[in-house]
Amino acid sequence: MTVNRRAFLKLAAGASGTLVASRASANAVASNSGVEPFGVLVDTTFCIGCRKCELGCNQNNRDLPRRDSPQFEDKRVFDTHRRPDATSYTVINRLPTVDTKGEPVFAKAQCMHCVHPACASACIVGALQKTPEGPVTYDAWKCIGCRYCMVACPFQIPAYEYANALTPQVRKCTFCYEQIVTQGSRPGCVANCPNEALTFGKRSELIELAHAKIATHRERYIDHVYGETEIGGTSFMYLSAVDFKALDLPEQGDTPTPALTEKIQHGVFKGFVPPVALYGLLGLVYLSRRKEEVENTAADKDEHHE
């Protein structure tokens, strides 16, 4: 029994040691592979609310229910505030505010593809993954439907197919992963924007571009790029002429949402200390008990001899 447990512990310690090592090396590869993450800069001052991004999204993501293009020309949808849901990964809203010229303000809502995504951190099976190219991808095969991601997301983006009784999935913007990574083209929403309010590119270059735009047109933009630092940065970033709160973008700190939880969790298991400490303690207890036992037995024997 003792031998068995010892063997198991050895094995477990060895395995987890290897695991930690391999994880570390994997991370090193990801950060050194030279993949610069993609992003999208949403310049809301150019958005005219034509809903062509919604159309482009629907046409690109073949697993969404098909809609005809006239359905996306209906401007009456702006009368109500909408959120991305299981059937549409992106929506445009006309916001209850006007810009400096008195024109209506529109803003696109979709998954922000955070640099440190809370959904991926909360996902207990790794169905949501942050890819080195930027998109946060979803694997329906791994998903167990716990919906922790929906609770974790600071932008309340992941939607659930409640209407699907047998094979419901979590649904959110895919960033047209296949298209941008394997085909090198732009996401559907960006490619279909007639006014090029959306710019697709390397995230670092987009930040540069955003600040250059602000510097050149002080009168046009608020001096802030939403998503540059918010919750540790997002892949979709926004420029605006009006306060970002009016754009339906929540005020966020610069700390990544999963920072605290991950710190605790990862801290606890860092270097395999707690299990080693626990089993070490147990081992000490066992050894001391055993010593006592041996002494007691020896004493008994002595007694017996005597």
């Binding site: 010229k101 007639p194 090029e196 697709f200």
Partner: protein, 391 residues
Amino acid sequence: MNSLFCRIPSLTAVVTTALVTSHAYAASAASKTLPPNVPPSMLSQPNCGDCHTCANPTRQDDCLNACPRHTKAHTTSSHAAKEAPDSFVIDKLAEQYAGVNFNHKLHANMSEMGQGCAVCHHYSPPGRIPACETCHTKVANPTELRQPGLKGAYHRLCLQCHREWSHETDCKVCHQQPPAGAQPKSIKDNGDIMGQSHPVIPVPEKRVYDTPYKAGPVVTFYHKEHVELFGLKCTSCHRHENCSYCHDLKKTVAQKKTMEQVHAICSECHEKDNCSTCHDTKERPAFSHSTTGWPLNRYHTELDCRACHPTGKPIGKLMRDCSTCHAGWKTENFRHAVTGVQLDEIHSGFECTDCHVNRKFTKPPVCTNCHDDGRTSKTNPPGKRVERKPK
């Protein structure tokens, strides 16, 4: 109008800097798609010093000169609006939507009262004003994020004013709707002169030719009808003509053509026809469907010829009975409202032949089979009269 021009100064600044940057200039000078009128020295061998002030520019400090595009030397002041065409079709990207009929004259006149041509033509070196697509590529250049693609450049220019001026951003405001059932125009179709930014040429209704053919000197050519009926482009027939065919003001005598040359274009389609198909002793009236023996009634006049003649060929032996073509119409699937009468609940349950005895739909229906007060459909319609809406 006042409000528009009050806003133009800010607008110019926005448009100008949004569309070009000094870096774009440097990048494009090095590439093969050079903007015209770049100094020859830069064309042959781009000199770093033309754009950069220091020897080793870095990403952080690119030490760029002010872009020559922004300097006063490159302005459109030397041009007058009348040098440009009055109007043209912007359809370089026409795909989802038809091209835009752009009235250049109107816009030029408006801007002359304000900031001038530079409102739109933000880069205009001496000489001919370069076209937008000289710099703005059809797909936005991924290496130059500050420079919008051609689609973005077009839309931003138009919308910056239109959004503030008319508050209309609907696609249909500028894009003409393609006719129902028409194939979307291909981007590559520059075969027609209209596709090369030529202002729309009004199509003449008809042309009457006086020919030397003694037996029938008069040829009446219904030009518009030919174009619309057979979907012809200008170049389908006028492909051997050069610009001076229309633009030579001193042209006095028509060029002599041989008989073969004159007939060549027509006989491409009318190869089997004889002289009398076109030649007559007097001017001919336009085509009327009644000459075929069936004057079109109120429902059919609104249809396109091709709706019934998809191959362009006449239909022989047509019975004048509705059910010859519309055999499938029954009580369940016929929308009676198209006739101008929406049947009430009682009448909508009847068979067609209950009122239209012997399926004579062209004659007024018979009411006396059920009603013995001698009423007719005119005095007592079997439902509500509605506005007739053909499908």
